[in-house]
């Protein structure tokens, strides 16, 4: 499989989508095997592309920047030329593997989870479309294609969040997700257009070249970078656009695992990583990214402490992780960010799928109704534990290496470093909390506990696979492992923007972070397993803080008020204008005037011949007058 033929990858799940959408009801098992087969084939091809890439890397050395392959699509000579094409480099290859693999595991898992669902076929169709769009997004060589895929991904997210379409809450959540990300998408579109106007091209590499050559005016570049980041913020749930992600948990759990943990939400991270050269050319660009990421990760860390729905806790942890990825990008370390993205995909998907296993077995999501599932669901519990520990950052698990990389990169910036360190124990505490409350202790709901059973093989296998990866994937950061896999000089040297980055392992930072994590885990254990009344006392003592967190910093209320007062108010004015001025006056006006004139004119038809005769004579006299005056 040649790198230049990578465009085949998105086509496989896209074909699956078309087949399932058109023929789904008539296929055996609604065609789920087509979807799973397509994405598996895409995964295999992704591995082949990666192999081809590494061999090319070996041939050309570390400076190899990737290949592009495109065909002209729309050409208006003299103004626009739009090409369809792919661009394959290290970031692309990483993303391809992550996306196709996790998509495959999730679709496999869905065979068990979504069994018996009334919209089974459509679910697989849309999830295939999503896989296709995501693959196209990471392969896109020009901004327009990227935007295309970006929007498609958003659409699939909307469709899948609203999958349980008999639930009002699901529909609302889907709307919220789409609208919130839309705000970012507008920014992205404007940025793309601005860049095109300055450089005349949509191709990403050409835009970079133009920017570095100084061909873009500073104001325009700054504006486009900010707007681009706006798009990334929307899709990747950064503050203040993070409100859609917890609500998106209304969708089926595999969807949450795939879209809202491993792939779509990292599209923003991918975008910024891809366009990092532009950010670095703008004064304050990286700082903006860093600030937003830091703020987001810090804020969301505390929200995990009070949420009672398992999926929501994991959702907030996702926001936490995403913020951390942006922090890494903000300090100019795309390698660390991509490493975290890579490992995060695995353990976050694992957490979601394990939670899905719990939900499937007990039909409950609230921790208040769970507990004591360890004995009944050993595989789920064990894998969930591994995922939670990795999220917290326990040493030697995947999350640890990735977080460590980021912390090392942050050491120059004292304030950022301190804040990031602070989030470590908090993360540990709430991950411990959710694990303990769900799996340990006495069951709080006897009926749920009765029903609980271990998941079928189709669901358990992906859990185990992901758990294994969580244990070992982190080691890929090491140079030796990287070289063994074919990346000369380790991944760090490959996933970069400008300068090669080698994996730094700073004992002090690692030790310090490990201590903090251990402290957090112990505290969590103490609060929720040993002295179980402690949390209640703390929350009643700090009642206002607790309420603030429970209401998610009142952000949702704020947004709703703005919409109710602001948007609806303005629209009421506009509606009045439209109804009264445009409709009544401008549209109905001429019609009514014509009617009126017609009504008045008809009195001319008296029906009496003498009147008509008079009219004739008057006409003749008038003409005669005119002719006579002209004659003289």
């Amino acid at each position: 499989m040649n790198m230049t033929d990578a465009w085949v990858l998105p086509l496989l799940p896209a074909a699956a989508f078309v087949l399932l959408a058109l023929l789904g009801p008539y296929l055996p098992r609604r065609g789920d095997w087509i979807a799973v087969g397509a994405i598996f084939a895409a995964f295999v091809l992704a591995l082949l592309v990666a192999a081809d890439f590494t061999s090319a890397l070996a041939d050309h050395g570390a400076e190899f920047a990737g290949v592009a392959n495109s065909v002209p699509w729309v050409e208006i000579p003299g103004s626009i030329e739009i090409r369809l094409g792919v661009h394959v480099d290290a970031i692309t290859v990483t993303m391809l593997i992550v996306v196709s693999f996790v998509a495959f595991l999730v679709q496999f898992y869905s065979l068990g989870y979504m069994k018996g669902d009334s919209r089974y076929g459509w679910y697989y169709a849309v999830i295939s479309l999503f896989a296709a769009s995501m693959l196209a997004l990471v392969l896109a060589g020009n901004f327009l294609l990227l935007y295309f895929a970006w929007e498609l991904v958003g659409l699939c997210s909307y469709l899948l969040i609203g999958h349980y379409n008999h639930l009002r809450s699901a529909a609302e959540a889907a709307k919220k997700a789409f609208i919130t990300t839309r705000i970012g998408d507008v920014g992205l579109l404007i940025a793309i257009i601005l860049l095109w106007r300055e450089t005349g091209t949509f191709d990403i590499q050409e835009v970079f070249a133009a920017a570095e050559a100084g061909a873009i005016r500073t104001e325009v570049l700054t504006a486009s970078v900010v707007l681009l980041f706006l798009g990334a913020m929307g899709k990747s749930a950064q503050f203040p656009f993070h409100v859609w992600l917890p609500d998106a948990m209304e969708g089926p759990t595999p969807v949450s695992a795939l879209i809202h943990a491993a792939t779509m939400v990292v599209a923003g991270v991918y975008l910024v990583a891809r366009t990092l050269p532009l950010f670095e050319l703008v004064a304050g660009g990286p700082e903006l990214v860093l600030a937003v990421g830091l703020f987001t990760t810090f804020l969301s860390a505390f929200l995990g402490l009070v949420m009672t729905d398992i999926k929501r806790v994991i959702a907030y942890s996702t926001i936490n992780s995403l913020g951390l990825m942006f922090v890494a990008l903000g300090v100019g370390s795309p390698a660390a960010a991509m490493l975290y993205l890579f490992t995060h995909a695995f353990f976050k998907a694992l957490l979601f799928l394990a939670a899905g296993s719990v939900i499937h077995a007990t039909e409950r999501q609230e921790v208040g109704q769970l507990g004591g599932l360890w004995s009944k669901m050993p595989v789920t519990s064990a894998t969930f534990a591994i995922g939670a520990l990795s999220m917290a950052g326990l040493p030697f698990l995947a999350g640890f290496w990735a977080k460590d990389e980021i912390l090392v990169a942050l050491t120059e910036n004292r304030a950022a470093f301190a804040l990031a360190l602070l989030t470590l124990p908090v993360t540990a505490i709430y991950m411990a909390r959710v694990f303990i409350l769900t799996f340990l202790g006495a069951p709080r709901d006897a009926e749920a506990h009765e029903h609980a059973h271990e998941s079928p093989l189709t669901m358990a296998l992906p859990l185990v696979a992901l758990a294994v990866l969580t244990l070992v994937a982190g080691f890929v950061a090491f140079d030796q492992v990287g070289r063994a896999l074919g990346f000369p000089g380790g991944i760090g040297e490959v996933i970069f923007a400008h300068e090669p980055h080698t994996f730094d392992f700073d004992i002090a930072v690692a030790a310090g972070s490990s201590v903090l994590v251990a402290v957090g885990l112990v505290a969590g254990w103490y609060a929720y397993a040993a002295r179980t009344e402690l949390p209640a006392r703390v929350s009643s003592a700090l009642r206002p803080v607790h309420v603030l967190l429970e209401r998610k910093y009142y952000l949702d209320d704020l947004y709703q008020t703005v919409i109710d007062r602001g948007v609806l108010g303005v629209s009421r004015v506009i509606a009045w204008f439209d109804r009264n001025v445009v409709n009544d006056t401008a549209v109905n006006g001429p019609a009514e005037t014509t009617s009126l004139i017609a009504y008045l004119l008809r009195f001319q038809q008296t029906g009496r011949v003498p009147n008509y005769a008079l009219a004739i004579i008057v006409g003749v006299v008038a003409l005669a007058l005119v002719a006579f005056s002209l004659k003289t």
Binding site: P610, V620, V621, A624, L625, F628, T632
Partner: protein, 166 residues
């Protein structure tokens, strides 16, 4: 004032007077009689213009047949019994318009330069020439005119007859 002028003004007065009678008199039958007067005066004008035959034709057909026909219609529709009780509603405007019309016509007629006999003499046309022309150059219109009369005859019969059995 020569004799000719006096005769002309007399005949003109008769014509105009008869016309005014037609349009203004309340009683319908009197209006018809005034029409006869006007038509006879027009015959007189033809004589002044040296077309005696035309004057004869005018008297025979117009003053004779047409007036009688009108009087018959008046009789058959019993309108003649009832005088007109009201004047048309639009008579002010009508008066104005006709006055304007008269004004324009007179202005146009008097200010135009009519090519004709430089001496201003009336050409006396022997009627044999007229008859000759009627059956030579104007033969086709002559035939068509007779056709028109035929059609009018048939049309009038068709229109005015009663339905069968009535």
């Amino acid at each position: 004032m020569t004799v000719a002028q006096v005769i002309f003004y007399l005949i003109a007065a008769l014509a105009v007077g008869g016309a005014l009678g037609v349009v203004l008199i309340r009683s319908t039958v009197y209006a018809a009689l005034f029409l006869t007067l006007a038509l006879l005066a027009v015959a007189g004008v033809y004589i002044l213009l040296a077309s005696e035959f035309l004057a004869l034709v005018q008297v025979l057909i117009y003053a004779g047949a047409v007036t009688v026909l009108l009087l018959f219609a008046l009789m058959l529709t019993r309108i003649g019994d009832v005088p007109e009780t009201m004047v048309g509603r639009q008579w002010p405007v009508a008066a104005l318009v006709s006055a304007l019309l008269a004004g324009i016509l007179i202005a146009a007629l008097t200010t135009s330069n009519w090519p004709g006999d430089e001496d201003g003499l009336i050409t006396r046309l022997p009627f044999e020439d007229v008859g000759d022309a009627l059956f030579r150059q104007w033969a086709v219109p002559f035939e068509i005119a007779s056709l028109v009369l035929l059609v009018a005859l048939i049309g009038a019969i068709v229109l005015a007859r009663q339905e069968e059995g009535e």
